[in-house]
């Protein structure tokens, strides 16, 4: 999934991703900006998987990675879905790096599932004009997966 030609008129962005992959296992969501795949991304996540808390981080990576769900589940109409809400701050500001934070999870059946939150930074000051979302799984998104992009404008921003 990709958002292109993002208007530069908002203060912050919010992405709401309801999604699933084809294997139903815990998968990270990878987020890129401006199709930039240089080693310019760092991420931290704190989450639980089936009740066991874990933390993870990656630095100088090619993507921002959120382990707090959002790409998991089976994805049929009556199956399980992952949900991830990502806030991206000051995306058009060329005086600072682009930071973001996410909350989400994957709700399975019984005691399966993951839930948590993360934060990340894109260590370039380029204005964000496009955003790439992909699961860390080669078969990609399951049908009916959807992402929405919202612009948030500060009253005096």
């Amino acid at each position: 999934m990709e958002f292109t030609n993002i208007p530069q008129i908002y203060t912050n962005l919010r992405i709401v991703l309801q999604s699933a992959t084809y294997d139903g296992n815990l998968r990270a969501l990878l987020v890129g900006y401006n199709s930039d795949t240089s080693a310019s991304y760092s991420s931290h996540s704190f989450y639980h998987n089936a009740g066991t808390t874990q933390s993870t981080n990656s630095t100088s990576n090619q993507w921002n990675s959120f382990f707090a769900g959002g790409t998991d589940g089976l994805g049929g109409q009556t199956d399980n879905w992952g949900l991830l809400v990502i806030d991206i701050f000051d995306y058009a500001d060329t005086s600072k790096c682009t930071s973001s934070m996410a909350l989400g999870g994957y709700v399975g059946t019984g005691t399966t599932g993951t839930q948590g939150y993360g934060c990340a930074i894109f260590t370039k000051t380029d204005a964000v004009t496009s955003i790439q979302l992909l699961p860390n799984y080669s078969s990609g998104w399951r049908v009916n997966s959807k992402a929405g992009l919202y612009g948030i404008r500060a009253q005096n921003g």
Binding site: P7, Y10, V16, Q18, F46, Y47, H48, A50, G51, T52, T53, G69, Q77, T78, D79, N80, W81, G82, L83, V85, L103, G104, G105, Y106, V107, G108, T109, G110, T111, T112, G113, T114, Q115, G116, Y117, N144, K146, G148, L149, Y150, G151, I152, R153
Partner: protein, 163 residues
Amino acid sequence: MAETFKKLVSYSTSGSSSTSITLSSIPQTHDDLFIVFNGTGTTGGGAVNVRFNGDTGSNYQVNYMWNNASSSTAASASSTFAGAARIFQVSAGVNSGGWMYLPNYTSSLYKVFNSRSFHNNINISYTNSWRNTSAISSMTLSLESSSAFNTDFRTDVYGITKA
């Protein structure tokens, strides 16, 4: 892109406590719902649950993490909160607040929703699901314990529409 939240309804206990809050006739014209809550309970502490469309069946999955100053707990559960999904907690005399984000509430897919809240120095986050394909037209907040929403309790519901 949608740029603003549209407030649909504001519920306040307005001088009398209440054991449940029902938000009915939710318009089916938005993509997502955002619910903000703030206030206290009347006695002790209590978990706050949400039900959709009056469904009290075992159709809710709850998935959470919480921590305070010295410990943390995390779990996924389907049976512990049968008949509802837990989304936050209230206490007597100590303010609690938070929000819930419910995307695609009119879709024919199972619903999944996040909430984040603070409660008496506890940090809580949930990702839950309602295993039902019906569009959500009403939701009820209720307390598990004998406590009630105090007179200061307030809930605002916003509709969010994609451009």
